[in-house]
């Protein structure tokens, strides 16, 4: 593989077209998708590829409108009456997805996680919970935390980077951010960070208290084969970003089976690994954002500075909290 530029990296992660770049291209891309909707909510909640939408088993709880290209979740009681309460909707969706999983309709459901992710409607209302592995089928926004753990050494800044386990369904063997994880329903970002730091990197809570919130990374990724399962699935994401300066004597260690090991790399080593495509795409994207925020990438040394920075903070077209 040839060397990837920083702009290539940013474009690889945030690879859904922009309306403001090319209206025609954007509209053409949208034609390939069904909108995921929930009865009673006016907003589009995600984009579903046509091949997924038309393979999705239809029950009394679903309506596929091929003209509007809407796939609408319309939960019903056994008597055919609309189910309007939050818990009732969630129960019907959970049983449905479990059934689809057992029928082996979609490969991504083989990576079943038993974790519920939140889906928001307008005005920050929590509309639905959905099993994590199903979220890319519906193209809904998911939320997570990504932390860069770094050490100031006499030779300059170094960054802790784990290698993902070869057994992982998604991006096996690729390099990752120091700690990263998904936000389950009901969890706050910092709380999630503390949990993930303990689980993934054996970092104790008192060390993680010094982590600094630095904003969000938002992007719209279309999945390729490295993600495992069906390709072309939409994955708009919002990551809460943290930096943590670690003392030299705090060594992250895999706490679960997510990582093989942790390496402490110089900035140049990280940049080379990024350019060689060794990092998981959204983790490379986060590291570029870290480099921009820390004055390592600047307008003077990166010709595509403005383009790259704009791709760290895409305004997503779906309701968010």
């Amino acid at each position: 593989m040839g060397q990837l530029s920083n702009l290539d990296i940013a474009n690889e992660c945030d690879n859904f077209p922009y309306y403001t770049d090319d209206e025609d291209l954007y509209k053409a891309a949208l034609k390939d998708y069904y909108q995921f909707r929930v009865e009673g909510c006016e907003s589009c909640l995600g984009y579903i590829t046509s091949s997924v939408a038309t393979k999705m088993p239809l029950t009394k709880d679903w309506n596929l409108d091929q003209n509007k290209k809407h796939l609408t979740f319309q939960p019903r009681t056994h008597h055919g009456e609309p189910v309007k309460d939050f818990e009732g909707r969630n129960k019907i969706l959970a049983e449905y997805l479990q059934d689809v999983r057992e029928k082996k309709v979609f490969r991504v459901l083989n990576g079943w996680r038993n974790e519920l992710y939140p889906i928001y409607g307008p005005n920050k209302t929590l509309l639905l919970n959905m099993e994590r592995s199903a979220t890319p089928l519906f193209g809904v926004v998911t939320y997570g935390v990504h932390m860069t753990g770094y050490v100031k050494t006499p030779e300059g800044m170094k960054i802790w980077a784990p290698r993902r386990a070869l057994t992982k369904q998604t991006y096996p063997g690729m390099m990752d951010n120091t700690v990263a994880g998904g936000l389950s329903t009901g969890e706050m970002p910092f709380e999630c960070l503390v949990r993930e730091c303990e689980e993934e990197a054996s970092l104790p809570a008192d060390v993680v208290q010094s982590a600094q919130a630095c904003g969000t990374l938002t992007y719209f990724h279309v999945r390729d084969a490295r993600a495992g399962g069906e390709t072309g699935l939409c994955q708009p994401e919002c990551q809460y970003i943290y930096d943590l300066e670690l003392p030299a004597d705090v060594i992250p260690k895999p706490g679960d089976d997510e990582a093989i090991d942790f390496q402490l790399l110089t900035v140049d080593e990280v940049r080379e690994a990024i350019a060689n495509g060794k990092f998981k795409p959204n983790c490379a994207h986060l590291l570029l954002e870290f480099f921009v925020r820390h004055g390592i990438l600047t307008a003077e040394n990166e010709p595509h500075y403005i383009d790259i920075v704009s791709k760290f903070h895409r305004k997503l077209e779906f309701p968010m909290p």
Copy 2:
């Protein structure tokens, strides 16, 4: 005036509609504008209010297409032949704007600056230079640097904030970022920062060398009366952001007539001044971005965190370098 929330502040600075928020509202807003175009370039370079476009004196060098709503700069020789070279275009535009200024057609030209701002076409080509005070008439993207100078004190972080001179045409008497200035044609951001730090705050170049680039702030502002001159003008901007931690004994002082004085304020004092509408809108926007990046505003203490962060980094629909 009531207290402004952080979301109010972000919405006040970045106040042009978003396509992804409301397609109809966005398209309705666009109908009020003419597109600024340069002959031979396929891109729209800025939005001109209808009242400005129809008052702009027409010469052989301009074409107003009322159907397409395009105002196109089409420089011509005295023999009516197209002028295709960069310097030739600039000379014709400069003479034209000087003439419009003398005829007192637009109030914003009373603030004539004798500074040239760059206008970019596709592929980062420099297409045209334009007198700074004319840029809001054409709604083109302008570029600048904004720096937050702060001091770590035993009582916590404090921020240096100047008050703008009462004689300034734009935002007189309002509070500002420690140092801020516009990027002239041919100037690189860090070079501009060093110059502005000396001119506006008497900060010597050796101190400014420690300033850290932290990314860009991009937003699309529609001007109100506080900006002076015509209202409703479009001002899409890209600011290169810097942080500078200053030693306690380095005291910024007005170096020109831009500022009355500098105040060293606690974070709470800055937040209160922002909420009371005392900061120039884009400077308040930058300070919110600083607070997010430094973990002062977090997902846990700011309910509109995601919305606010997304408004720091708007992807503008015009060509940029």
